[in-house]
Amino acid sequence: MPIERAGLTTRRVGPVRLLAKMRDAFAQVPLLGWLLGALAAVIVERFAGYPLALDVGMSEMPALFGLENVFGQPALIPGTILYVLLIYLLPLGIVAWLSSWPANWLAKQLLRFPQRISLLIHLALLYAVLSQWASLGDYRVLLLKFTLIAIIVTLSLNVVNGFMGEFSCSHPGFMALGAYAASVVTVLCFVHNKILGAPLLPHAPGLLIFPLSLMVGGLVAAFGALFVAIPSFRTRGDYLAIISLAFTFIVKSLIENLEIVGGARGFMGQPDFASLPAVFVVAALSVLTINNFVRSTLGKALNAVRDDETAANAMTVNTRRTKMTAFLFSAFWAGVAGGLFAHVIRYVNPGSFGILKLSEVLAMVYLGGLNSVVGSIVGAVGLNVLMEALRPLEILKWIVIPVLLILVMIFRPTGLVAFREFKVEEMLKPKMKPPER
């Protein structure tokens, strides 16, 4: 609903009452309606974004919902607010509100089909929104890809640090393994490389080989995880943290000394396979499988092991196998994320998988919230957007972000949305029946 206009015409109602009414109206909008609204917003931006941006004094469309202007060009803040309001919030609100009835009807009809179909439709809509938004600038595409990859890594680390309650520092190492393994596969197959030689395959089946190479990356990472898991899961405590930290450094120096993949100079020439749809599909797959896993009784066993291992063992849970499986699964997805990362920037060097990467991923996990799939998504998106928005502050960024993290740790020690289940079936449901007043 248009906020300011409604406010003018129904002044007698009072702003509090109006807000309550709006909240009721929007509470009935199902996810489908919000996605339609978002789609409308990005389509409006496509046609009206550029002229409006010029009108309010910007030289181009704001890349990040105007957030980058808040610190970058404070003079533009009023114009930016107007832009965000007109281009994003207004179409989103109007379409979501108008579509609430048909979207509810559609969501209700979808209940008759298997949940998978409804899920696919929602994901397709989400992809449409994201790709539309990203199509208006290369920067947006890159940011979106990095954010999606960050979601995969954060989720996979949350499986170990949140759901299982151990402390693993080895995810940069797994990412490095995945990145190099996947790169070697694709370069070997499709690119003429000085050391690895002529391409083995014609370029055509690239889209078939790319998922395979990611898979190889994930499996290599999972294999590497065995070397961490076998010694450290014999006991609980700090052992995993120490061994996994060592693992990250070992992987890094191993790659630095492997001439065949370029050593410390890095490894380049990955074919351009990591398109936005590819990254999106892999990210969606990772969210779904990880969420499926942690919501099953098999996955809940992780929580049982975390909260009381003796009790879990006494209740028929094979705790050692549970821990191993979860750790390897987590490493697999970190490896896949590494493979994607390598193909997005089409260059990897061992330096990017060090302690800095580790702190970044840990920050995303703990900011978003332990033991929560939604939390990891919030953390990954939040921190990525924040880092970009604070870019104009330059070096001060590295003061603001840690301070924010400390504040989160003080006021919400387990993270922003910790210990909440991500109930997909609840999200897809229609939200019928307005509360009568």
Binding site: T297, A301, R306, A314, M315, N318
Partner: protein
């Protein structure tokens, strides 16, 4: 045939002999008690039977099969479930998740089911949920199923733990001080629940208890342990009047 036979069970912790030459034969459907002063080794006996500690000597058989040397989860899956003296609940999980967790060994959907949500997984999870719900209703805590356990009152937490043990479909249930810290009302209720469990599910129960009233009410046979050795065994009345027991245990402090 006896359900569980424990023969000549002995364990040393370093130089300390915690349990010495402990023997017990548990018949199906029997309720047995194990009493004794603090530090007598009662919980150690339970830990030995459930595989948390390994005995130095002796044999433990369930249905004629030895369980010595098996991992606790294997023994639990074979049919010996237990509760703990100080509740061992999983503090972030809801009551029903606790009960479902004890069905872990019965789930067969595997990792593929866990990752991709196959129809087999959906079916098995639903079955498990139904079983868990039935057990919780039997314990009278069905309406609290979706509460996180740390938010529940103590008596209910005890029942959650018991429902969880029952969900493993045990043949023998070991209860380690099931009424510890309960008020008289909760106590009466718990005695009824224990009897009900035995009558409805037909399993054998072996319990450690400090409150004489509970032991005397429930148990058919009672063993008394002192310094790791059985000093008396018999019917409740015999135990009550046994001078050794009174010396070791009842005589020191008056317990109702």
């Amino acid at each position: 045939m006896a359900l569980v036979q424990v023969h000549n069970l002995t364990v040393y912790f370093g130089g300390l002999r915690a349990v010495h030459d402990f023997n017990v034969v548990i018949e199906p459907g029997q309720i047995r008690g194990l009493i004794g002063p603090n530090g007598a080794g009662k919980t150690t006996v339970f830990n030995l039977i459930t595989g948390i500690h390994q005995p130095t000597e002796g044999t433990i058989t369930l249905d004629g099969k030895s369980v010595v040397g098996l991992q606790p989860y294997q023994i639990a899956a074979m049919g010996i479930a237990r509760t703990f003296q100080n509740l061992r609940l999983w503090r972030h999980m809801t009551a029903i998740e606790h009960v479902k967790m004890a069905r872990y060994s019965q789930l067969s959907y595997g990792l593929v089911g866990a990752f991709f949500g196959t129809s087999k997984r959906v079916r098995e999870e639903a079955e498990t949920e139904a079983i868990a719900m039935r057990l919780m209703d039997m314990m009278g805590i069905g309406r609290l199923a979706n509460e996180v356990v740390t938010n529940l009152p103590y008596g209910v937490q005890r029942k959650v733990e018991m429902a969880r043990a029952l969900a493993a479909s045990p043949k023998l249930l070991l209860l380690d001080e099931p009424t510890a810290g309960m008020n008289p009302e909760e106590l009466r209720e718990m005695v009824q629940v224990i009897r009900q469990i035995r009558d409805r599910l037909g399993l054998a129960i072996f319990l450690i208890e400090h409150r004489m009233k509970v032991v005397m009410d429930l148990c058919e046979i009672i063993q008394t342990l002192d310094f790791g050795e059985v000093i008396a065994e018999g019917m409740p009345e015999e135990i009550q009047n046994n001078p050794k027991v009174i010396d070791a245990y009842l005589g020191k402090e008056v317990v109702i």
